[in-house]
Amino acid sequence: MSAEHLLWLTVLGPAVFALAATLVRSTRASLAIVAAGSLVSSALNALIAILVLARGPLLAGAGWFRVDALSACHLALLALVGASSGLYAVIYLAEELRQGSLTARQARHFAGLWCGTLAALAFLLVSNNLGLMWVGLETTTLLTAFLIALHVSRESLEAMWKYLLICSVAIAFAFMGTLLAAAAATTTHSGAPPALFWTDLIAVAPRLDPALMRAAFLFLIVGYGTKAGLAPMHNWLPDAHSQAPAPVSALFSCFMLNAALYCTLRFIPVMEGVPGCAGWAQGLLLGFGLISVVVGAGFMLFQHDAKRLFAYCSVEHVGLIGLGLGLGGLGTVAALLHSVNHSLAKALAFFAAGRLGQAHGTHEIAHMSGALRTSRAWGVALLASCLALVGAAPFATFLSELLLLKALFDHGRTALLVVVLAALGLAFVGLMRHAIRLAWARGEEPPRRITVGIADVALVSLVLAALIALGVVIPTPLRQAVQAAAAIVNAPSAANLVAGVRP
C-alpha cells in the first residue's frame, strides 16, 4: 500500500469507527470502539509522520492532501494525544460505568463523536487546501460541542452553547479571511480560478495585494485564534474545559488548541512573502501571545475548580507558544517543542483531575484536597504535572520555556521579557498554591473509592517518563523534525534559525 493511501486512511479510518459507533448497542462495544479508533488513528498518524520526516512531503488526491514536516509534527502530536487520551477515555468511562452514571446511549454518542473528532483533526492536518483545512476545524467544533455536554447539566449546556456560538462565529470570520486571501489570489491569477492550495498561495505570495492580505490575516488570526484560546477571545475556553469530561478537556487543551494555531501558522509563510508584510503577522502573534500569557496567569490565582484552573493554564501556555511562533527563529523551535511538552503535561493534569474528580464527585479544589491519599498514582500525576506546567526542572517544559525566553531575549525585547517573567512567576504562584492544597491538604469529606488499575499506573508512568526523558534529552529525530517544521514556518528567516540553534 502506497503512502498516498495512508493519507486517505488516516482520515477515513477513524471516520469508519465513528460510523460503526452509531451501529453498536452495548456500552462495552462503544468503549472498545473508542480505544480501537484512537489507537488506529494514532498508529496511522504516527506512521505518516515518520514517513514524512524520513522521506519528505507526501502528496495525495491530486494535491488536495499534502503532508510536510509542519503537519507531520502536528500529526505526531495528535498521535501522542489521541492515543493517550483515547486510552484514558476508556478508563474514565469504565469508572463512570461502574458508578452507574453512564448510559449506553451516552457511550455510543461519545464513541461516535470522539472518533469523528479524531478524523476531523487528521483531515485538517493532511489537507493542503486552505478551504478544506477550515472545513476540518469547523467540523471539530461542531462534533465536540456535544462531547462537552455528554452529561447534561445546566453548567455543561451553558458551556456548550457558549462554545458553539463563539467558535462558530469566530470560525466564520476565519472563513471570511480565507475568502479574502482567495480574493487576493484571484487578483493575481488570470483565468484559471485558484484552488486555494497552500502551495500555490506561497508561490504567488509576492504578487498578493498587501492591504487585502492584511485584512485576510486579521480575520484569520481572530477566527482561528479564538479556537486556539488566545486572549482576549478565550472566554469560551475555561467554561468548555471545565465542563467537558476529562478526556475531552485533555483533547481540547492538548491538541485542538494546537490545531487551531496550526491553521494560523499555515498563513505565516504566505504573509512573510507578501510585500511589506515581513514580520507583521508574527508581530500580531507575539501580541496575542503576550496578552494570553498575562491573562492566563492572572486568572489562575482565584480558581476554585481544578479543571478550570488547568484551562486558564492552557491559555497561558498557548500564549507562550504563540509568543514563540511570533518571535520566529529559535522562538519557533522552542514553541513547537513547548507545544509537545505542554500537551504531555496538560494531558496528565486533566487525566488526574478527571480521575480524582470521579473519586470526590466534584472538581472543587477544596473538596479534592489530599489527592496523594486518595490515589497515589493520580496524586503523583497531579503534582508532577503541575510542576511540569510551571516549568520546573527536570521536566521538559523547563527547557522549552528556557529556550522561549532566550529567544525573547535575543529578540532584544527586554520589556517583554520582564513582563513574561513576571507572568510566569504569577502563574507559578497561581498554580502551585492550588497544587499543594490538592496534593496534601485534608479534603472536606473522605473520597469515594475508585478502582485504580494497572492501566492507570501504566498511563501515568508512561507520560511522566516521557516528560522527564524529554527534559533530560530530546531524541535527534524529534529535534530534526521540529527544526524542519520551524524552517517551513519561517522560511525567510530560516538562516537565523540555523544560526540560533547551533552558534
Binding site: G131, A145, K162, V169, F175, A183, F302
Partner: protein, 211 residues
C-alpha cells in the same frame, strides 16, 4: 438586475433587525437563501457550468428551504414565538443597522478587490449582511435569534465569497455547505436541550460560569 437582488438582500437584513416574531424572521431567512442562490446563478451569468448550477441549486435548497424548516420545527417544539425585549431594542437596532450599512458601503467601495462591474452592489450588501448577522448574535437574548444571526452571517460570507472569489472550488463549497448544515442541526438540538433544561432560551441568563 443583480443590484435589485442585492437591494432586496439589504432590505431583508434591515427587516431582520426590525422583526421580533420568529415566524417572520424565518421567512426572511428563506428569502435570503433564495436570493443567494439566485446570486450564485447570476454571478457568472453565461460562464456558469452545470457544476456551478448544481452547487447553486444545492445551496439554494439548503439555505432557502432546509434551514428555515429545521429552525421553524425547533421553534415549534420549543414553543417560543418571539424575541421579547432584546438587549438592544428594535428601533435602535434599525438605526445601528443603518450606520452599519453606511460602513459596509464605504468599506465595500474601498476594498481593493477586482470584481466585475456588474457585481457593483454585491460586496457591500454581503458585508452588510455579515454585520447584521454579528449584530443579531450580540444584541439578542434568545438562543434562536443568535442562531439566526449566525446563519445570516453565514449568508453574508457566502455572498461575499461568490462575489469576490468567483467560483470557490466545489469541494470547499460543498464542505462549507455541509458544515452549515451540521451547524444548524447541532444548534437546533442544543437549543432544544437548553429549552428542556432551563425552560427558557434567554442565553444572557446563562452566566453561572464566570471568573
Amino acid at each position: 438586475m443583480l443590484d435589485r437582488l442585492m437591494l432586496v438582500l439589504i432590505l431583508s437584513d434591515l427587516a431582520f433587525l426590525g422583526v421580533s416574531r420568529f415566524s417572520a424572521a424565518l421567512s426572511l431567512l428563506a428569502l435570503q437563501g433564495a436570493l443567494l442562490g439566485a446570486l450564485a446563478l447570476a454571478a457568472h451569468g453565461s460562464a456558469s457550468t452545470e457544476r456551478m448550477v448544481l452547487l447553486a441549486l444545492i445551496g439554494l435548497i439548503l439555505r432557502g428551504v432546509l434551514f428555515p424548516w429545521l429552525l421553524r420545527r425547533t421553534a415549534r417544539r420549543a414553543e417560543i414565538v418571539e424575541e421579547r425585549n432584546p438587549l438592544v431594542g428594535f428601533a435602535p437596532s434599525l438605526l445601528i443597522g443603518l450606520v452599519l450599512l453606511g460602513i459596509a458601503m464605504t468599506l465595500g467601495a474601498r476594498l481593493p478587490l477586482r470584481t466585475s462591474p456588474m457585481l457593483g452592489l454585491v460586496v457591500p450588501a454581503s458585508l452588510f449582511t455579515v454585520f447584521t448577522g454579528v449584530f443579531l448574535v450580540v444584541a439578542r437574548r434568545k438562543a434562536l435569534s443568535q442562531c439566526l444571526g449566525y446563519l445570516v452571517l453565514d449568508n453574508g460570507i457566502y455572498g461575499f465569497g461568490v462575489a469576490t472569489v468567483g467560483n470557490i472550488p466545489a469541494l470547499v463549497e460543498l464542505g462549507t455547505l455541509l458544515d452549515a448544515l451540521v451547524a444548524v442541526l447541532v444548534m437546533a438540538i442544543a437549543m432544544y436541550r437548553l429549552r428542556e433544561e432551563f425552560d427558557h432560551m434567554n442565553t444572557d441568563q446563562l452566566d453561572t460560569l464566570r471568573g
